[in-house]
């Protein structure tokens, strides 16, 4: 089974992905991103999403957690990451294990 890859984000961050062959869907605000995601969720298997858009869409993105596909990956945009990755790891760890096994030795 082959699937297509797509990226949703603001224009500047995603242009370079376009050149690399990933299909791009520009969106600058939450509502637009939600609309696009809803539309492309069944067609694309891997969807990249920039952090700025992912933050307000938290609940909406949870619905993708039920099934293996599509895989939605949140990536930092050209304005840099806002710690989403760390946040995500922490919450997953808390839910599954109840303890922090990754970040406690760094403090």
């Amino acid at each position: 089974m082959t699937g297509k890859m797509a990226i949703v984000g603001d224009g500047d961050s995603i242009m370079v992905f376009k050149a690399a062959g990933v299909e791009t869907f520009p969106a600058t605000e939450e509502k637009k991103a939600r609309e696009i995601l809803r539309k492309i969720a069944s067609e694309y298997k891997i969807i990249f999403l920039t952090e700025e858009l992912a933050a307000p869409l938290g609940d909406f993105l949870k619905r993708f957690d039920e099934e293996p596909y599509p895989v939605v990956l949140v990536i930092p945009s050209n304005r840099g990451g806002a710690g989403y990755g760390e946040e995500f790891l922490k919450s997953a760890m808390e839910r599954a294990l109840g303890v922090d096994i990754l970040f406690n030795n760094e403090k």
Partner: protein
């Protein structure tokens, strides 16, 4: 602990004993499953963290490089140069199972570039070439990260659900059954004593 609402008969006792045996066995199995899932989860989440750090670092650098390239190129020509990609990446999507949880397995398949970059070298600065090349090289890693993060999500959900099941068995189901069995046994014994006493009384008359 509340006991189940059943008639204190031998029939019920037999049924409940069977249920208790099943519950205990199920509890043991689920507990083992939970332990193993947690072990796998810790491995995967460590991997996730490492990969995430790598990818974020690399991506930030690429995007920085790319925005330099953008800033020295007029917007319209950049737009034109990048809007016609010569490659199309697809992903080979499979499924594997981690402890009975279906998780995605992704492999990026990049079709060869027909004639290199999607634009002429004279149009765009060399920074753009580098960043496009690097992002292409990064795509498999991004896909891998996507796969691992999804696995972490799915596994975390499953662990949570499983934990709830184990707890329900351990703290509700099993004590309830044990208590009910004890109640029925007491009741049956009581009945037996009562009938013996009755027989003795009858005999004495």
């Amino acid at each position: 602990m509340a006991r189940l609402n059943v008639n204190p008969t031998r029939m019920e006792l037999k049924k409940l004993k069977a249920r208790l045996a099943t519950a205990v066995r199920g509890h043991k199995l689920l507990k083992d499953k939970s332990d193993e899932m947690i072990r796998r989860f810790t491995v995967i989440i460590r991997q996730n963290k490492r990969l995430r750090d790598e990818v974020e670092e690399e991506l930030a650098e690429i995007l920085r490089q790319f925005s330099v390239a953008r800033s020295v190129t007029p917007a319209y020509s950049a737009e034109a140069a990048f809007s016609m990609p010569t490659v199309a990446v697809t992903a080979e999507c499979g499924m594997t199972s981690v402890m009975g949880v279906d998780v995605p397995e992704v492999k990026v398949v990049a079709e060869e570039r027909a004639g290199g970059l999607p634009y002429a070298f004279s149009e765009i600065t060399s920074e753009a070439d580098y960043s496009v090349g690097r992002i292409s090289a990064l795509l498999p890693k991004l896909a891998e990260l996507a796969q691992i993060e999804k696995t972490v999500r799915l596994l975390a959900d499953e662990i949570e659900r499983n934990k709830r099941r184990v707890n329900a068995l351990e703290y509700i189901m099993i004590p309830q059954l044990q208590e009910t069995i004890k109640y029925i046994r007491d009741k049956l014994d009581e009945n037996e004593r009562a009938s013996i006493v009755r027989l003795m009384k009858v005999k004495n008359k």
